[in-house]
């Protein structure tokens, strides 16, 4: 299998900030070409499905595919308490009343 796009590979290495030696660079480039080829299936599938993106699995913003009623996430239902319009983030020193 040939490395198809050396230029893209160089750019990826730069963004990812990982130093690679020549051999690693070549092997990884070949492997990435094969994996990218395999993952291309999602682009076609998404076009056919025409669905909205889902980033958080319990985001029920869009209607379910069986036409059930749509749900919205309400910030008041989130586990983190909201105080004065700000979300208290416990690990950054925000106080959460249990």
């Amino acid at each position: 299998m040939e490395c198809k796009d050396k230029e893209v590979m160089e750019k990826l290495v730069e963004i990812a900030k990982i130093s690679l030696n020549e051999e690693e660079r070549k092997t990884l480039c070949d492997e990435l070409s094969r994996i990218a080829e395999y993952l291309k299936a999602v682009g076609e599938a998404a076009r056919e499905l025409g669905t909205e993106p889902l980033y958080y699995v319990w985001d029920l913003g869009g209607p379910l595919r069986d036409g059930g009623e749509s749900h919205r996430v309400d910030v008041r239902e989130l586990p983190t308490k909201v105080k004065d319009g700000h979300i208290a983030v416990p690990w950054r020193g925000g106080r959460v009343e249990e």
Binding site: V8, M9, K11, L12, V13, I15, A16, K17, I18, S19, L20, E24, L28, E31, L32, R34, I35, A36, Y38, L39, K40, A41, V42, G43, A45, A46, R47, L49, G50, T51, E52, P53, L54, Y55, Y56, V57, W58, G62, L64, R65, D66, E77, L78, P79, T80, V89, P90, W91, V96, E98
Partner: protein, 478 residues
């Protein structure tokens, strides 16, 4: 083959059996098997374990109240933070790292008087399906030492399979607790996304992963999930639900609705298929209703999962820049320093996933890869939610028997293919349980059950019913 369940040990301890004796018994199993299996990255000092046992014995003698897991030895996957032992995530990047805090799940174990025996091996940052990609050493399958135990929670599964722990915590991003369960005749339950706190889990794929209870029986998995489950203020994705409490009544086969999704049943090798159908037909003959279903979009689950997992991995692992964590660079030039620290600290699979993730998120490719995958994910999630409203899904756990060490390392796509049946539950956020159903040529085979959100009880009840049919609760090597 032996059989030992954690709840039985617990009953013996409550009835007056000495805890130190139990600790010694487990340590003897470690002594016998660990040299070959290498399930642990770090083990607690035996003397400290004995002291902990003595302390519990004193409390029991005085009639003091003790926790739900008093005296049980729990192994913890090494991507879950503990203050008492180092947390490496199986990576040179974190070699020697000791977390300043315990993960919420570890705090909950300790609050219930469990004893953490050690930290188990995993594929680096949980990226793998065989536990061969640990930066330290591969873990072997106790049922056949020439074979892998599955991954990435292979250390946890192997520690259970040889009796080196009573219970174990794994994590499951795309099948990492369930695949090892299938390969080692143990039980792994990937909970509903948000049921178990991820606070203190070293992140890989945030939107997919859950810390997962692992054990030698369904009853033991339920016991562990009762302790670790429930809302945690420290995890913004944790669901606002209380600690679960499970009934331990097996389900009735009659009236049980089981859906056989073609895309999750077909394609496994012959010995795996045979055992799968044995169990399904047995349930049917006892009165369960079977329904065959097709969900074509599930044929895209594997590339969808990997695209999202790569993207999240690239983002999560950006924090390892040679500043806060052990792997450092030496150059005085910032760019070179970071590049060097990351090159030294990460193994090849991690580098591959970071680069693929950067690719999937880059301008010009993002819509075709990452965003497209999130669109397909919605379709998969919706189909699974719709189906699990009317039945439990029966699926294969793995397309193959446990492979030999090194057999699948030369081709990343061959490795990824091992997750083809398990990634669906992570994409949909729903709970899934894998349990043993038999052996083929001496190698364990598992089955997978998938239910709707927060329907862990259904999985446990069905799992108990299946155990009553197979007689495989508690099995471990001699």
């Amino acid at each position: 083959m032996k059989s030992r369940e954690a709840w039985q040990e617990l009953e013996k301890i409550r009835e007056g059996r000495d805890v130190v004796g139990h600790v010694e018994e487990v340590l003897a199993r470690v002594e016998k098997w660990e040299g070959e299996v290498k399930a642990y990255i770090s083990l607690e000092i035996p003397e400290l374990l004995r002291q902990r046992g003595e302390e519990l014995e004193r409390r029991l003698r005085k009639g003091e109240k003790v926790g739900k897991l008093a005296g049980l030895l729990v192994s913890v996957k090494d991507n879950i933070c503990t203050t008492a032992l180092p947390t490496t995530a199986g990576s040179r990047m974190l070699d020697g790292y000791v977390s300043p805090y315990n993960a919420t799940v570890v705090e909950r174990l300790l609050a219930e008087d469990a004893i953490v025996i050690g930290k188990t091996n995993l594929d680096e940052f949980a990226m793998g399906s065989t536990t061969e990609l640990s930066a330290f050493w591969p873990t072997r399958n106790p049922w056949d030492l020439t074979r892998v135990p599955g991954g990435s929670s292979g250390g946890s599964a192997s520690s259970l399979a040889y009796g080196g722990a009573d219970l174990s915590l794994g994590s499951d991003t795309g099948g990492s607790a369930r695949l090892p369960a299938a390969y080692t005749a143990t039980v792994g339950l990937k909970p509903t996304y948000g049921l178990v706190s991820r606070y203190g889990l070293i992140p890989y794929g945030n939107s997919l992963e859950q810390i997962s209870p692992m054990a030698r029986s369904v009853r033991d998995v339920a016991l562990l999930l009762e302790v670790i489950g429930g809302w945690d203020a420290r995890d913004a994705t944790s669901l606002r639900v209380g600690s679960p409490v499970f009934s331990l009544e097996p389900a009735e086969a009659r009236g049980q609705k089981i859906c056989l999704v073609k895309e999750m049943v077909e394609g496994a090798e012959e010995p795996v298929e045979k055992l799968f159908w044995n169990v399904v037909e047995k349930l049917s003959s006892e009165g369960a209703e079977l329904e065959e279903v097709r969900i074509p979009v599930l044929s895209k689950a594997l590339p969808t999962y990997y695209t999202i997992a790569f993207a999240e991995a690239a983002s999560n692992l950006a924090r390892y820049a040679g500043i806060f964590y052990p792997s450092k660079g030496s150059s005085g030039i910032w760019e070179e320093y970071v590049g060097e620290a990351r090159a030294k600290g990460f193994g090849r699979e991690v580098k591959r996933r970071i680069l693929m993730g950067v690719y999937a998120l880059s301008e010009g490719f993002r819509d075709e890869f990452y965003v497209a995958a999130t669109r397909v994910r919605r379709a998969i999630r919706d189909e699974v939610l719709k189906l699990t409203r009317r039945c439990i899904i029966a699926a294969q756990a793995s397309p193959i028997l446990p492979p030999r060490i090194g057999e699948r390392l030369d081709d990343p796509l061959k490795l990824y293919y091992m997750d083809m049946y398990t990634v669906v539950a992570n994409l949909a956020g729903v709970p899934a349980l894998v349990q043993p159903i038999g052996f083929s040529h001496g190698l364990p085979v598992g089955i997978q059950w998938i239910a709707g959100p927060l329907e862990e009880q259904k999985l446990i009840s069905l799992g108990l019913l299946v155990e009553s049919l197979t007689g495989l609760a508690g099995v471990m090597v001699d």
